[in-house]
Amino acid sequence: MPRLLWRVVEWRLSRHMPPRHLGPALGDLAEDYAARRRSSGRLRADWWLLRESRSLASAYRMRALGERSSSSSRATVDALRFDLGQAWRAIRGRPAATLATATVLTLGIGLVSAMFALADPYLLRPLPYSQPDALVALYPSVRTLEAPPPTLDDWRRRTDLFARLAAWSDIQNLDVSNGDRGAVIPAVSVSPDFLPVLGVPMAAPADWRQRDDSAETPILLTTDVARRLFGPDAPVGRALKSAPENGHTYRVAGVLPSTFLFPSLGMGGVGGLIPLGDVPLVRVRRSLTGQTVPDGSLRLLARVQPGVTPERVSAALSTTTARGREATEPGVRVVTDWLPVEMRGRLRPLALGALGAGLLILAVCAANIANLLLARGASRVHEFATRQALGASGYDLARLVFIELGCLAIMGIGGGLLLAAGAIAVVATVIPSQFTTLGAPALTWRVVWFACASGGVVMAAGIVPAWAAWRVAPATILAQSALAESKSMRRLRYGMVMAQSAVAVVLLVGAAMLVRSYAALFTQDTGYAGDTFAVRAVYPRSLSVDAVRADIIATVERLRHLPGVSSAAATSGPLVENLSMGGAASLTVGTVVVPRARAVPVTSAFFDTMRSRLITGRLPAPDDHARTAVVSATLAAMCCPDASPVGRVLLSGSRPLEIVGVIGDIYDNALDQHPMPRAFVPIETSAAGLSTTTYVLRVERVGPDLGALIAREISAVNRDASVADGSTLRDRLLRSVGDRSFTTLVLTFFAVAAVSISAAGLVGVVSFAVARRTREIAIRRAIGASASHVRVLVAREAATAAGLGAIIGFAVGTWLSRTLQSFLYGIHPGDALSLVSAAAVMLAVVVIAAWIPARRALRLSPTIALRTE
């Protein structure tokens, strides 16, 4: 007989049954239990026993309450209805306290649920594949070709490792149109068994292979792309012509399920799948010296046999090549990992951290709720004592507190879910794409469950006040005239105030620093006008520099004549796209060599189009543009710290150039990367590096089709140029610091929530202090105490606790701010202004939160106050 279970049953029955009947009743239960256990097994018997004892205890309890009906369920419903009525009356009777509690709950539950929605894709949300835990991603890399490289079929035959093996290759942008609508589809070439390996519920077309150029290629589109191209029409079987007029045709073979997610994080935007031709596992190319060298390989995706680990796969497929006498170096190296780990891996710690911060806020909330209810419970001792005197047991009182708390929790969960839905909607518009690779945050059922569980956590915090209610003895109230509160309880409550205040200040310090950094980012001079429109084009590498240069100059000329365009220019490389511009270089100015400086080829109208700020000298004139150069302020400071560089000679490219002016630094990569030294040289002199070119335009108005218009002009000059989407430089700057914006937003949100919650807690605690000392205040007022004296009297303890907490939080926050180092820009951790402003905000909040209830103490008329006791 399981002892614990029987002890529970005995305890349950002993509370309601007459003691002399208890033993025989337990004997009867034991007899029936034994029979039931023989017939239906132990688990069912245990369950039966619990139910049976509950119903028996309930019947006796109802009899004790005088309930005539012996139907326990009806009686339970009646009792519950009564309790609910009581709880509702208590809630309605104190609207201010209810509002404070519900607000705190709403904030806590809403915030933690929103955070969970954000973190969920990286923690729990299953990947949209069948049995994703058996999928392994393989990234082979081949170093030498001394031994014949492995082939895909070699590896497919390793049935000891793989159940199935699929391959995929790089992403390529297909510029296609269906006759009336066009789109650039980022497409990946995949082998025929790619979808079966993933377990995507969709049959790959039977003729899934690359044909020769003359025939049609099948393509699978994602739901989004299919809708964008064909609207509500059925896309299957329709043709997509590759633009410009080179005429390759793709035939839509199917539409991927809307849940399809490409199994590689860097490929978040995949819009279509096309067949992988007869591409070998290891590509080779001929080097400049005429040798055959490896040139990348396919990427693989495997469903492994049970028990096979990525480490085993890696060890089995990697080979080493003898190098010299003793040393070996890897010949084929295969980096492997479980697919879910690989896909979630990078952001999982961040997600856990964010969720942890959310849970911290929830814990503060729970402490706050316990505090508020404790204060309320203490102010209700009279009521509880009267109830006890009329026959309510401690259990009844605790149940009452719990049901009240349950009602509040339901309000909190409802409000919290509304808040979470709002927060998710807001977050969805600002979240940078690197945080949504596994799917955007959404209010799913899992989030709803999580919110309910959070409500449950807060319910658990209700144990403290419920316990306090249980302990009230009727004699205490009659003996004490003031609202009773033990010393330890008071210490507990002020301790909670202190802890909340400390957490709030820690978050506030962090948020203040991030906000300061963010402000510093956007107040700096970027060196150009934000409304400049930019479009990047990439020319085939096979073209000669001269040919590309001619195309660029011709394109700029055409762009200049577009309607609404006042000036146009081109510059080499990407512009404000957070892309590295290749290796380090150096420039020679006069006799000084400036390291890490780069010459940027530009066309003549570049400075006018960008609205560059001239510091000294002049800008190149149209007639001497080809012979002159302009340097950035940083380069000027590096080459000639004491004099102006104007008039000196810059050695770059094919001929020496005269420096005619200095312009302000240009933030040409990202808003949070300090500008590097740059010399702007005429495009005519550049010997290389023109294949990636950015066209910049000054336009009257940025219309929705401006990018397409420009792309058409670029293609008209060179139809092999691939054109990326255009945008204004301001948009690009914003995008370049997208993750900062997001981190700042989230931390600020947390800080505001924490401060609000701790303010609510402070109001509650000071209100309680006022209620507890009403009589004392009245006497003091009657004998002439001043208003400020009374204010200090009631608010002192709570404000001191909050202040102490703030000091602790201040110290911890300053110390922790070092961890924010990588997020800071333009300020140092421990930045005085941030610290002072955080302290000022917290101080203001403490003063206001303490002052509101203290004011109430002054409004009381002494005669009324004295009568309340």
Partner: protein, 143 residues
């Protein structure tokens, strides 16, 4: 059977003070409670089950007997409460069996027997039913 008093009791002398509700269901005015009613149907059933079991009537067997004969589930609580009530009315008597049984976890049995007044009341109920049935045979069928 009590009378329900459909109003609240204020436990405080002043209106501004705490007011305590007592559920109307729980308030009875004892002085106007009526005389004990004749046996209810379930009480007769329980008494008859005890008679059937003849010396081996205790909680579990009584419940099993009623369930076996009536063919419906009976809650344990209702059986025990009825047994207690019948004992309070003096219609049943119980005693604890001396020897405890191991299969009952060492607990004693509370064995019931019907007292003479109980037997009289069962007889009364049965004959009352029989008398009431006279002349209704075409409607109710033969017993």
């Amino acid at each position: 059977m009590g009378l329900r008093v459909p109003h609240c009791v204020s436990a405080s002398p002043r209106e501004s003070e705490t007011q305590v509700d007592i559920p109307p269901t729980y308030v009875y005015i004892v002085s106007i409670m009526p005389a004990p009613a004749p046996l209810g149907e379930f009480e007769v059933v329980v008494l008859m089950a005890v008679l059937h079991l003849d010396g081996n009537a205790y909680g579990s067997t009584i419940r099993a007997e009623i369930e076996r004969r009536s063919g419906r589930r009976i809650s344990r609580g209702s059986v025990y409460i009825t047994l207690d009530r019948l004992e309070d009315k003096g219609l049943l008597a119980s005693k604890l069996e001396r020897a405890s049984v191991a299969s009952r976890g060492g607990r004693q049995k509370r064995l019931f027997r019907v007292t003479p007044p109980g037997l009289k009341l069962v007889r009364h109920s049965v004959s009352l039913l029989a008398r009431m049935q006279e002349g209704l045979e075409p409607l109710l069928g033969e017993p």
